[in-house]
């Protein structure tokens, strides 16, 4: 934990740093821990919102219930939309970010303005619905990907990263005779792997968590995603006669866990790509 050259004040700092980050992690983890142990608890232990801090029982019944239910399709839908959507989004974001990052781009100010305006101006759901409807995309999986494919936020973050790539690298490549295409592929992309990994994750989580768009564009129950299921389970709203039948907390929590699972599984693989930044700082310390 310490380095040999550390003096006392530094060691105190490291300890405090470590404690604080641990505290932050615990605060963050506590609700997650509760969700996890509730999802594997037996029915009788989760009655009427009992808040579990210590695991009381263990059963995978809630998960098997979900796998056997008609809801499992929405889980696969979410995965499909997430994967395809992320690939598509990255395919249109990376090239545009690269071009915008080139300081000598013709009409750069215009293009930047073009993008920035969309950050702030939004006409809301109805005009978007009308456009999607006229493109005949209503009730298609495409409607869950296309209208939300590009995020100006992510685009600008990526562009910003690419502009901070040291000029020297690119200049020397140009002197060697590389054209723009080779510069993109052999220099910019490899160096940008941290931000590409980060933005890929962002896009995927974004697709995964979409709710209103699914309600708006999808009519067919078969194409619904897991967020619809989650909301139904949590709110179980009342109307005239029909209301929810008692779905116990453990099933709710199990659905929440499944709602997080793919992202949690994906994350460790992606993390090693954008953590290289953390390495630089420490090695030189």
């Amino acid at each position: 934990m310490f380095r040999t050259q550390d003096d006392l004040s530094r060691r105190i700092f490291v300890i405090c740093n470590f404690l604080m980050l641990t505290l932050v992690s615990v605060i963050v983890l506590l609700p997650l821990w509760n969700i996890m142990i509730t999802s594997v608890a037996q029915d009788k232990d989760v009655l009427a919102g009992a808040y579990l801090l210590v695991p009381k029982s263990f059963t995978l019944k809630a998960y098997t219930r979900i796998f056997n239910s008609g809801y499992i399709k929405s889980f696969y839908n979410s995965i499909g939309v997430g994967v395809i959507g992320t690939i598509f989004s990255m395919a249109i974001t990376i090239p545009m970010a690269f071009s915008l990052a080139q300081k000598n781009l013709v009409a750069r100010k215009f293009f930047m303005g073009f993008v920035v305006i969309t950050l702030m101006f939004d006409a809301g759901m109805i005009p978007l619905y009308v456009v999607v409807k006229n493109l005949h995309l209503i009730n298609t999986y495409a409607s869950l990907v296309l209208p939300v494919a590009m995020s100006s936020f992510n685009l600008i973050v990526m562009k910003n990263f690419m502009t901070s790539i040291p000029e020297s690298l690119i200049e020397s490549a140009r002197l060697d005779g590389c054209n723009d295409a080779r510069i993109l592929i052999s220099i910019v992309l490899p160096v940008s792997i941290p931000i590409i990994a980060a933005i890929t994750l962002f896009y995927f989580v974004n697709y995964w968590n979409k709710y209103f768009e699914v309600v708006m564009f999808i009519n067919d129950n078969k194409k619904q995603t897991i967020q619809i299921l989650l909301r139904t389970l949590i709110f179980e709203p009342d109307s005239a006669v029909s209301g929810g039948e008692g779905v116990y907390n453990n099933t709710k929590m199990a659905v929440m866990m499944m709602g997080m699972l793919p992202v949690m599984v994906l994350y460790p693989f992606i993390q090693k790509y954008f953590v290289s930044g953390l390495m630089l700082g420490s090695i030189k310390g």
Partner: protein
């Protein structure tokens, strides 16, 4: 007018142009508006297959949310009504929003259901978004038998714009007999407000929540009625008044505050969902809740599931100090309507008649398909596992509220339900004795009112909540509401409502 239609046509033209360039979307079958329909209204068209776009929440198509089962139900309905249905099945919790988007963007479904009809329906009618159904109702032997009073509540130029889905509901307070006996609580079906307070106080502090209440402030009307207060804009003796601004409101609010302060109403009601409230009553954590009058059977079953069975006693109404009483004042809560863009209104009405007014359709709607949603073993019906795994509701409560009587379900319910059904019917009929007058939102009369009516509702609920929680005193709350009323020009709005009403 010219400039706006030009703008809209530019928007439309551009999207049309882009549509021809795009053409990359795959539509599911029948996703466009009626493609092959022919719009003749003679009796022979009953045989011809017609396209209908139907929007109903996901709990309606056989009550199970399993998409396979729902498709089966859609197929069956198509066969029985000779239609090709483009089914729009939004989740129940976002049904309101989905319909709002569909209707506002002009993509109005041919048939859809309006929940909270008393607030929303008049608006649809006035905006020309739904069709009047008088001629079709007259032609149908079944529909023409519907009691005229069902259509009186929502009056837009005297025409009938909807078909009710259920007969109007009442709510009861459901009391657990075991907790009541344990604490010596003795309440009739219509106790006075003082009796209610005194008896329920006995349970406070015993570890059981005396009154589990949900976060929906409309339920306060159960108390308002005891003081002769209706907290909305309504017609009193022919003139529109704001029911919240009468002197009795103060008494009503102070009563509810007392209930809250002295631990009778659940301290956390403002964050309690209906489902949680029900669960608390079912498993014994609470003694009382407020729920629809056809829930008797439901609670018997649920309390059994939680291994704490007991009898449930209803309280139909509270009687106030001046002898006033009443139950929910909702007019029509739930109705079917036909969208204005429908090319086959006759077939749309036929569809509604099938689903809502025929034994076969009602069974499909509420029970699903025998063999798929439920199975019959030895004459007793049981929910299938596939259906149960996706929110299937196996409950006899729906049979009480139907507009027609069901002759033959084709099975018997389980023992506990069969035993309890007569009691459920009796309790329900008894509860209807105490219904208060029914009001609908006076939408479509005055522009000024329609624009601000959601804010009037939310402000009123906010102030009532603050008073009950103790943040504001009753006088303070009433003063704040009066300030709000003035800021929106409330008195002028009333004047406009009254003048426009007399010219109708």
């Amino acid at each position: 007018m010219k400039s706006s239609s030009r703008v809209l046509s530019i928007v439309m033209a551009l999207t049309m142009i882009s549509a021809t360039f795009a053409g990359c979307g795959k539509s599911t079958a029948g996703s466009g508006p009626a493609a092959t329909a022919t719009a003749t209204a003679t009796a022979e068209t009953k045989k011809e297959i017609v396209n209908l776009t139907v929007c109903l929440p996901d709990q309606q198509w056989g009550t199970s949310r399993d998409s396979d089962l729902q498709s089966e139900v859609v197929k069956t309905i198509e066969e029985k009504t000779n239609t090709k249905i483009n089914a729009i099945i939004p989740p129940q919790g976002s049904y309101k929003e989905k319909v709002a988007i569909l209707v506002s963007s002009g993509d109005i479904p041919d048939v859809f259901r309006v929940m909270q009809a008393m607030s929303l329906l008049p608006g649809y009618a006035v905006r020309g978004q739904i069709l009047p159904l008088d001629e079709y109702i007259k032609k149908s032997p079944v529909l023409s038998k519907i009691d005229k009073s069902a259509f009186d509540y929502i009056n837009v130029d005297g025409k009938k714009y909807y078909l009710p889905k259920l007969i109007p509901l009442t709510k009861n307070l459901w009391l657990r007999k075991d907790v009541a006996d344990k604490n010596g609580v003795n309440l009739s079906v219509n106790p006075t407000t003082d009796q209610f307070y005194t008896e329920m106080k006995k349970i406070a502090g015993s570890g059981v929540i005396p009154f589990s209440f949900p976060k929906f402030i409309d339920n306060f009307r159960f108390f308002y009625n005891a003081f002769g207060v209706y907290d909305g804009i309504y017609q009193k003796d022919g003139k529109f008044v704001d029911g919240f601004q009468v002197p009795e409101t103060k008494d009503a609010l102070e009563y509810i505050t007392k209930l809250y302060k002295d631990g009778i109403i659940d301290k956390e009601f403002i964050t309690t969902e209906n489902a949680v409230m029900r669960e608390k009553l079912s498993n014994g954590k609470a003694a009382l809740d407020i729920d629809y009058a056809n829930r008797y059977i439901y609670y018997i079953g649920e309390s059994n599931k939680f291994k704490v069975p007991t009898e449930f006693l209803p309280i139909n109404t509270l009687v106030g100090p001046k002898g006033k009483l009443g139950n929910l004042n909702e007019a029509i809560q739930d109705a079917y309507v036909v969208g204005a863009k429908c090319k086959n209104p006759q077939r749309a009405v036929d569809f509604i008649e099938f689903l809502g007014y025929s034994e076969e359709g009602i069974k499909l709607d509420n029970l699903g398909i025998q063999g798929k949603h439920y199975v019959v073993e030895n004459g007793v019906g049981k929910a299938s596992e596939k259906a149960s795994n996706a929110g299937y509701i196996w409950n006899s409560g729906f049979t009480i509220l139907l507009p027609i009587k069901l002759n033959n379900l084709g099975f018997k319910w389980d023992e506990a339900t069969e035993k309890g059904m007569p009691q459920q019917v009796k309790l329900y009929e008894a509860s209807t004795k105490f219904n208060g007058p029914s009001y609908a939102n006076p939408a479509g009369i005055s522009d000024a009112f329609d624009k601000v009516s959601p804010s009037i509702k939310s402000t009123r609920e906010e102030i009532a909540t603050k008073v009950v929680l103790g943040t504001l005193s009753a006088d303070g709350g009433i003063a704040e509401y009066a300030k709000f009323w003035k800021s929106i020009g409330g008195d002028d709005i009333l004047k406009e409502l009254n003048s426009k009403m007399t010219t109708k």
